[in-house]
Structure formats: C-alpha cells, structure tokens
C-alpha cells in the first residue's frame, strides 16, 4: 500500500484550523478594540478563507480522484466532506453577514459572539469530515456547545435563555445516547472508524450483529436529535423561536447541514454493516417511520402557527423530513440529492430569516403574520423576495425548492420507498397552505393601524437577501450547476 506522506494528509485539516485560528483572532482582537464592526469583518474573512481552502482541496481531490485521510483515518477529505463543508461555510458566511447587520440593534454585539459562530462552523466541518465515531462525537460537541451558548445569547431575554437551556438539556441527553451507541458499536465490532466497522461486520465470523443493531439505533437517535427527526424534534420549534433570530438562521443551515452530513455517512456505513436479513431491515424501517412522522409533524405543525419565525421552525422540521428521504435512499444518489437540497435550502432559509429580521422589532420579537399585511405595496422588493423564497420552499417550479423535492423524491422512489415519497408529496401539498398564506398576506391583506412601519434594511442584510434570492432562481433554472458538478466524480462512497 502506497501511503501518502503525513503532511499531505494534514492539509485536509486546513479549513478547520483556519476557522479555529480566526475564532481565536477574533476573540483576542475583541479584547483590544472597541471597534466591534471590525470583528464581523474578521470573522467573515475567516469563513471565506476556509471556503477558499475547501474549494482548493475539493478541486485537487477531484483531479486526483481519491479520498484523502489524516490522523490515521480519523479525518477524511472525500466528496461528502468537501461538498458538505462547502455548504456549511456558505451558510456560515451568510449568517455572519446577516448577524452583523442587526448585531447592535438586537444587543448581540459582545465580542465573544463571532468567535462562537466560527467555532460552531469548525465543529460542523469536523462532523462532516469525521472518519470515525469518536471524531464525529468531538465535532458534534464542538459545534453544539457553541450553539447552546449562542441560543441563549440575548441577555435579559427569557425566551432566549429558555431556548439555550432547553437545547442544552435535551442536547446533553441526545449526546449521552450517542455516546452509548458508539460504545455499543465498539463493543460489537471492536472498532471506532467507519472503515473498520464495515470490515469487522463483513467478516464471515461476525456474531454480534444484534449488539451492532442496538448500537446503530442509538447512534441514529443521537444524530436524529440534531437533524430533528420526529419524535426527537421537539426542542427545535422552541429553540428556533427563542434563539436570537440571526442564531436561528445560523442553526437552520450550518447545524442542520453538518448533522445531515454525519447522518449520511453513519447510516450509509451502518446499514451496509448490518447487511441483509431481518436485522438489516430494522434500521431502514425505523428511519422510514421516523421520516414519515417528521414530514407529517413538521408540515401540520407549521399549519397552525401565527408567528412566521415559529412557522419557519416547523418548516425546518418538515424539510429535515424531505432530506431524510435522501438519507434513506442512501448511496451516491441519496447523498447527491441531499447535498442539492441542503445547498439550496441554505440560501432560501437565510434569505427568509433575513427578510423576517428586517421586519422584527429591536427586542427580536414581532414576527406575527399580520405584520406582513400590505407588504407587497409598502416594500415591493422585500415582498417579492419573500414571495419567491416562500414559493421555493413550498416547492414551486422553477425555483430551487422544486428541484430539491424532485431529486429527493426521485432518489426515494428509485430506492424502493415509493410509499414514503407519496407521503412526502402529500404533505408538501399541506405545506403550500402555510407558505402561500405568507404570500397572500403580503399582497392581498390591507395593512391596519397595528401594522408597523418597516425600517430601512441594512445593506449587508440586503446583500444576503439578494444572494439567497439569486441562488434560489439560478439553481432552480440550472440545477445542473450543482447536480452535474457533484455527480461527475463517482467517488462518493469509495474507500471507507
């Protein structure tokens, strides 16, 4: 076997290290300056630098056509990790810019805010690049600890503190389950790394399949909590609603994408390891039930909300269900479909929160639907942007949300989950109701005395909106830009 030199391996870590270094820089810089605006710029620079390195590594890996590992296989540079790192960093960059425009107004401008965002993103990169379960846990905790704090960031805001506390308590519970699952898996196979688990389970004398199943289910639950599969989703509506809105936007893209990256890798490995037969059927079946429940709960839950932020929170649950279809489908097609869905969802979600944020009060409240009344006439650009985003999230062509649904449904059907795809399509019809309600309120409802006067939008927020909107349209019309790009190198599941 021809091993690459150790330094060549470590190059894979550069994006993560970049984020951590910039987190430290931003933190230190915050001690010496009162110029808080510069911190946002520094943080954004860090994200962009990490993005550039990721793209560079990605292109190099494509040219080479092989996955690269570092630290003895604990850290992987393959198509999945690069694609999901790319999406995470795009989401993080947009969220940093979005937060920056409202930082002062919402009293978020303590110097520790940006470092935590960067650390959370770094944890996300570790999560999607993990080559073994211990690294995966490490990444999950780096990310989660930062986000727990961020969710509770707003001082003297009970909802924010409640959100942080809830997230932390339940997250700790989920982590405990995950650790237990990892231990059981190790007990069954004697390995932590995915390649080793697969190899051990493939051995003809492998006897601990039952134990491995239990471990796999617990690992699945630990990750299902992060991506908010029902019945492990209940923290999400409360935390998304209570967290400061820029943090909610960050969570809805970075945390979700990272957790899905880990879930795709883990389920892919474990489903294969469990093999065929009655034991092998359990994990997909459990996943299918959970995903079906997630789509129902998310969409029907959103139906009843009168607050847009909470509606978007439930809709995040629903979208997790749709990405879940791709996870269930598995294989290259599943990973590609999931990556397209999350990539375009990143833009749509951040843009939606950007519009919402521009309409909310300085105490980070005021997301009631009625406040959008007559927005079509009062703020035609803002309304048009939100309308397109809503239609895309609802899955209307020609926007990206339509293609996203089409590819995940297609992947699910191709993998033999037609019934679940039908359920997905049916619940998507329900989703039209609450998304369309936003559009209708903006254009058809007359504003009354309680409708607040919209404030001017910070330029940075407008940029986020414009990018989100443009991406939603462009990747809807030209889905091949992403789909062809990621499909060209068939080394998704290669070489665990």
């Amino acid at each position: 076997m021809n091993l690459p030199p150790i330094m060549g391996d470590l190059v894979v870590l550069v994006p993560v290290v970049t984020l951590v270094v910039f987190a430290a820089l931003t933190l230190l810089f915050g001690v010496f300056t009162r110029e808080r605006a510069a911190l946002g710029g520094l943080a954004l620079t860090g994200v962009i630098a990490a993005l550039v390195f990721t793209v560079f590594l990605w292109l190099q890996a494509r040219a080479g056509g092989v996955a690269v590992t570092a630290l003895g296989g604990a850290f992987r540079g393959d198509a999945l990790s690069y694609a999901f790192s790319f999406i995470i960093l795009i989401g993080a960059g947009l969220a940093v810019v979005l937060a920056d425009g409202h930082r002062v107004r919402l009293q978020l401008d303590q110097p520790e805010f940006h470092p935590l965002l960067l650390l959370a993103a770094a944890g996300g990169l570790v999560l999607v690049s993990a080559g073994d379960l211990v690294t995966l846990l490490l990444g999950l905790e780096i990310m989660s600890l930062a986000v727990y704090v961020l969710a509770a960031w707003r001082e003297r805001s009970r909802v924010s503190e409640e959100a942080g506390m809830k997230y932390f308590l339940l997250g700790a519970f989920a982590s405990a389950v995950l650790v237990y699952g990892i231990a059981l898996t190790f007990g069954a196979t004697g390995r932590f790394d995915f390649a080793g688990i697969a190899a051990a389970a493939a051995a003809p004398d492998f006897a601990a399949r039952g134990l491995l199943l239990l471990g796999a289910l617990f690992v699945l639950v630990g990750l299902a909590f992060k991506v908010a599969f029902a019945p492990f989703h209940q923290w999400l509506p409360d935390v998304y609603t209570g967290a400061p809105t820029p943090v909610t936007a960050f969570m809805s893209v970075v945390v979700k994408t990272a957790a899905f990256g880990a879930l795709l890798r883990t389920t892919g490995t474990l489903v294969d390891a469990l093999g065929v037969g009655p034991i092998g059927e359990v994990l997909p079946a459990v996943l299918a039930v959970s995903i079906g429940l997630t789509m129902v709960v998310g969409n029907f839950g959103a139906l009843l909300q009168s607050g847009v932020k909470r509606m978007l929170a439930y809709s995040a649950v629903a979208h997790a269900g749709y990405v879940g279809l791709a996870v269930l489908a598995g294989g290259d097609a599943g990973v590609q479909a999931a990556s397209y869905y999350l990539f375009t969802y990143t833009f749509a979600s951040v843009a939606a929160f950007a519009v919402l944020l521009s309409l909310m009060d300085d105490d980070d409240r005021g997301d009631r639907l009625e406040r959008l009344a007559g927005l079509g006439r009062r703020r035609p650009w803002l309304a048009a942007a939100l309308a397109v985003i809503m239609l895309s999230l609802a899955g209307f062509p020609p926007f990206a949300g339509f293609i996203g649904k089409a590819v995940v449904f297609q992947a699910a059907i191709a993998a033999g989950h037609a019934a679940l795809a039908v359920l997905g399509i049916s619940t998507a019809v329900v989703a039209v109701v609450f998304y369309a309600r936003v559009v209708m309120t903006m254009y058809l409802r007359e504003p009354d005395a309680h409708t607040p006067v919209a404030r001017p939008i910070p330029r940075r927020t407008a940029v986020v909106m414009a990018i989100g909107l443009a991406a939603t349209v462009v990747f809807g019309l030209f889905p091949g830009l992403w789909l062809d790009w990621i499909a060209r190198a068939p080394w998704w599941s290669a070489g665990f």
Partner: protein, 644 residues
C-alpha cells in the same frame, strides 16, 4: 442540425429574453418612471426581439434545416431527459416575425392609447411578458418547454383581459378565459403523458421522427392527436371552447389586437403545425381537426352577423378565421394554415387597432348602432380599416384572398381527409367565406360609412388619432394589402411561402385536378366574396339596413346575437352545477378548513392539534418523548437482534 452561438440564426434564442428583460424592468421600476418611458422600454425590448428574429430569418433563407440548440439540461428524470432547448427553423421564425413584428406595432400604438392610464407600467410589463411567453412557446424544442410558454400565455391573457379589474365584468372575462383555457390545458397535459409513455421522449423533433415509424392511422397517434386538439381548441378558441374569446375584448383594445393577431390564439395552430408529421399519420384526428374548424368558422360567422359591439364583431370574426386555419391544418395544407396565420395577423391587428382608434375618438363608445359616417372624420383610420375589411373578405390581390384561396384549394384537393368529407368541408367553408365578406362589410358600413348616428356631444369631439396610433395602422394596412404575394396560388405560380416552410412541415400528398378545376376554385372564392360584399351593400347601403333590422329583431337574430346560445347552454349545463358544487365546497371550506387552519381550535385539523398539544414547552416532556422513542427502538433491537 445542432447549432452554435456563432451562427446568427441561433441568436433568435435571445428574443424571449429581450421581452422578458423588458417585462422585468417595467414590472420592477416602471412605476417610478415618467410618462412615456415604460412604453418606450417595452417597445425597445420587442424591437430587439424583432431584430434577432429578422437576423434568423435572413440567415435561414436558402437553408433547408433549422438550427436546434440545447441550452441546458433541466431535470434528468429517470429515462426522460427534460432539457431546455430551442428550435429556430422556418416555422418558428415565421411565428417569431409575426409575434415581434405585429407586437412591436401594437406596442407603439399602445404608448398613445394607454397614455392616461395610471397603471401604465403594469400594462407594458404584462404586454412584454405576453410576448415573451409566446416566443418561448414557438421556440421550444420540447413539449415541456412549449407548455411553459403555453401556460405563460394563459396567465398573461388572464391578467391583461382583466387589466381593468376594478370593473367586475372585466375581471369575470379574465377568469372565463382562464378557466376555459384550463380545460384545454388538461388535454395538453394528458397528451404529453401519452407522448412520454409512447415515445419515451418529449422532444418534438424525436416525437415527429418516431411518429413516422408508426402505422398510418395508428390508434395511439389518433388519441394523442385528439388530446392535443382539445388543448388547441382551448387556446385557439375553437368550438366548443370558443366562448372565452368574445368576452376577452374586455381588456384594453391593443391587448385584443395582440391576442387575436400575434399571440395566444395562434398557439393552437402552431402546436398542431409543429406536430404536423404526427397528424399526417393520423387521418382520423386530422379529420376531427378539420370538422371542428369548419363548424367553428360557420358558427362564429353566423354569430358575427348579429353583434352590435365594434370589437365583438371582430372577435367572432377571429374565431371564424381561426376555424379556417384549423380546416387547413386538418386537411393537411399546413403551409396554407401558417400562411393564413401570417396574413390574418396583419389584417386582424389592423382592424382591432382601427376599432381602438374609433373607441378612443368616441371616448369609450363601442356600440356600432351609435356610430356611422366616421370615415369622413377619421380619414386615415377609415381608409386603413377599409383595406383590412377588403383583405379579410377575400377581395382579389389583397392578402386574405390568397391565403383563403390556398385553404379552399387545399381542402378540395386533400388526400388526408378525402374519406372524411373533404368536399363537404369545402362547400361549408366557401359559404363561410361569403358570410365573412357580408358581416365585415356590415362592420365597416356601420362604423365608417352611411349616415352618422352619433350623439351631438360625441360628434363634436370626434378626431383622428395621433400619429403614434395611425402609423401602425398604415404599416399594417400595407402588409394586409401586399403580404399575399408571398404565397401566390401554387398550381400556377411560384409560391415562395410554401417553399420557405417546406422543410419544417410534413408534406402530405394532394390531388392534382386539371388546371381548369383549380382556376374554377379560385373563381368560386372570388364570386362568394363579391356576393357577400354585394349583399352587404344591398342591405345596408341601398336598403338602409331595414331588412337587417327586421331580421335582427326576430328570435333568430337574438339567437345569433347571443353567440348561438353557447354561453347560455354552458351557464345552464356547466356553470350552474359547478357553482352549486363550489357553493357546497365553500361551506365545507369555511366550516372545515378555514377554522381549523386559522384557529386550530375547532375543525378537522386533528394532526396539527395533536402536534401542538405534544409541543407542551416542558423539557421534561420532550425528554420523555425522546426516551420513549429510544425505549421503543431498544425493544425492537432486542426482539429482532436477539433472534439468531
């Protein structure tokens, strides 16, 4: 025939983009622009589209094959590659020129016509979007993309017909157009499913190529043909779905001109012409097309006799002329059908814009009974309207004469529908041609000639319209008069138009009767046109309309005025029951859905309530839910995994 961007012909791909850019610019910024700017921007956009169309036309002359360009792959659905591509060939280029050329004149005219409307920018944005949709429709290389344009046209027509939506009748007319079109759209979708299932592709060129490999008259081709006919009858206002078009004049008059001449209604003709190799293999479907066409032509011509609204007469005349085109396309005379689209675009746009000029001068008066003698006060409008009238009536050497003659000759000589009564079709069509001349003479005479029946107030204010409105009239009149020479009767003269279109259309063999028969057919069409005009002159000029007044007052006259009772029948048979069902649904909606959604307190949204109840807000209960989920999984693992 794969093209590249270096080929100027391919630049026609940009035409819809220009129109779309105009629509976007007007839609987003137009409201803040000063008065004529929205119109100018919209006009420039269409002019640019016309320019690239003209380049494509020049580039295609003398070339057999068109240019196909696959722009990008939209969605690779399992086994069915849905890509976005265009075809620029003789057929699409002809339509491009008509749409953008006539469309441009209508835009110019609109600048003045809509000058005082406060929603100017919305108007021009929609007008551009309408043109853009139609351009997408004719350029599409696949039925999927064609459907995108097809729907876009439908939506724009809805928005433009109901442009002055504050008046309920206008909004209703918009809705009627939309709903009737939906029926056609259902046919389109069903047909496309069948095409995908039969041919495994939705690319038009491949469908056409494969259709040739089927047996002549194969059942599946007939079914597809009939379903696309349903689509075409909706869009092109053919019997029995023609009822929306007479109401569609509720929109601003230039919109009527656009709908009737350049866009929308010709879409059905285009669709069938585009699929002509398929229809040429399906004689039964073709025969139905022809018979639908002739019935429509006749019914609409009769209804046109009794109308009193200046635009409604023209609307029925459009339906009737579209019937002529359907006959042509049904009997296999595809080039003749497209030729009639071409000539009709000029004289019908001319007639509508002339009507608009009159309405403008009379400040909204549309009843021909309160007009008359206007030609003396509005010389340019009157003269150009006369040219349009004579052209549509089929007076020799004007454009309508040649295109109508081509259709009549094609019908007589058809082999495709020879077994389905082609000679009867011919006779009925010939009679309709006579009626056309008659009702058009009536239209002209009631509006522009004879004694004035205007009120004193109105008469004092009559004025010729501004040059922005009259210049398009003059240009259209020139084309209406001369365009026919491009398609001289092919049995005796070189027919340039037919040769130009030949590579893009299916060629169906025709009968070749002796030359004297062909000349006799020409003579017949001259005679019926003359007879129609003479009858009109006899009744309205010499008899002062007394006979007509007596006939019009009778039951038969009222029947014709009501459009032969179609609206009444639909109201009784479809709209009434539908309203009953809708009323029931509305009650269900209020009582079940709305309450459940809005309040979530009562009603049927049980799942939503269950979710809400589950979401208690207490961490301990959430943790319990997670624990229970986990425990359930552990039990499953123990049961399944414990087994050997």
């Amino acid at each position: 025939m794969n093209g590249t961007w270096s080929d100027p012909v391919a630049w026609a791909t940009l035409a819809p983009l220009f129109a779309l850019a105009g629509a976007l610019a007007n839609g987003l910024f137009g409201r803040r622009w000063p008065e004529p700017l929205p119109g100018i921007v919209a006009g420039v956009a269409v002019a640019a589209a016309f320019a690239v169309s003209a380049i494509a036309f020049v580039g295609l002359i003398g070339r057999d094959a068109g240019v196909a360009l696959t722009l990008w792959s939209f969605l690779p659905v399992a086994g069915l590659d849905v890509s976005v591509g265009v075809v620029v060939d003789a057929l699409s280029t002809t339509f491009l020129l008509v749409i953008t050329g006539v469309g441009l004149l209508i835009h110019v005219y609109s600048v003045d016509y809509m000058r005082d409307d406060e929603d100017n920018a919305r108007y021009f944005a929609l007008l551009n979007l309408f043109v853009a949709s139609m351009l997408v429709l004719v350029l599409a290389d696949s039925l999927v993309l064609l459907f995108v344009g097809w729907e876009g046209v439908g939506v724009c027509s809805y928005l433009l017909i109901g442009f002055w939506f504050r008046k309920k009748a206008n909004a209703d007319a918009g809705r009627k157009a939309f709903i009737v079109n939906r029926i056609g759209d259902a046919g389109f979708v069903l047909a496309s499913f069948l095409v995908a299932a039969t041919f495994g592709t939705l690319t038009i060129a491949e469908v056409n190529a494969q259709a040739g490999t089927f047996a002549f008259g194969a059942g599946v081709l007939t079914t597809i043909g009939l379903l696309y006919l349903v689509a075409a009858t909706g869009k092109s206002a053919q019997f029995p779905l023609h009822v929306w078009l007479p109401d569609a004049m509720a929109g601003p008059t230039p919109v009527s001109a656009l709908i009737h001449a350049a866009t929308m209604v010709t879409a059905g003709i285009y669709l069938i012409a585009r699929l002509s190799p398929l229809y040429a293999q399906a004689p039964a479907a073709s025969a139905v097309v022809a018979w639908v066409g002739v019935l429509t032509a006749l019914i609409a011509a009769i209804a046109a006799l009794a109308q009193t609204d200046i635009k409604r007469i023209l609307a029925y005349s459009t339906i009737s002329q579209l019937g002529f085109m359907f006959v042509a396309i049904g009997v296999g005379a595809y080039a003749a059908a497209v030729f009639h689209v071409f000539t009709h675009a000029f004289f019908k746009a001319l007639l509508f814009l002339a009507a608009g000029s009159v309405i403008h001068a009379l400040h909204g008066e549309q009843d021909v009974r309160r007009m008359g003698g206007l030609g003396r006060r509005m010389k340019l409008t009157g003269t150009t309207a006369l040219i349009g009238t004579l052209a549509i009536s089929g007076v020799p050497l004007l454009s309508g004469f040649f295109s109508k003659e081509a259709i009549l000759g094609g019908t007589w000589n058809s082999t495709l529908v020879e077994d389905y009564g082609s000679r009867v079709l011919f006779v009925l069509l010939l009679a309709t041609a006579g009626l056309t001349a008659f009702y058009m003479f009536r239209w002209y005479h009631r509006v522009f000639a004879g004694p004035s029946r205007l009120t004193k107030d109105a008469a004092a204010k009559v004025h010729e319209s501004s040059s922005l409105m009259t210049v398009p009239l003059v240009l259209l009149a020139a084309f209406a008069a001369l365009a026919g020479f491009l398609g001289l009767p092919s049995f005796a003269f070189p027919n340039w138009f037919k040769g130009w279109l030949a590579p893009a259309l299916a060629q169906v063999p025709t009968l070749h009767p002796p030359l004297w028969v062909e000349w006799l057919l020409v003579l017949a069409s001259i005679v019926v046109a003359a007879a129609g005009l003479f009858a009109g002159w006899w009744i309205y000029e010499r008899g002062k309309g007394a006979i007509a007044a007596k006939a019009g007052g009778g039951a038969l006259g009222r029947f014709a005025e009501g459009g032969l009772g179609f609206d009444a029948a639909y109201r009784a048979a479809v709209v009434g029951p539908a309203e009953g069902v809708a009323g029931g649904l509305a009650i269900a909606d209020r009582d079940l859905l709305d309450r459940g959604i809005a309040a979530g307190v009562t009603g049927s949204s049980l799942i939503g309530r269950a979710v809400a109840a589950w979401q208690s807000g207490y961490v301990r209960l959430y943790a319990l839910a997670m624990f229970l989920g986990l425990a359930a999984l552990a039990v499953v693992a123990a049961v399944v995994g414990g087994r050997p």
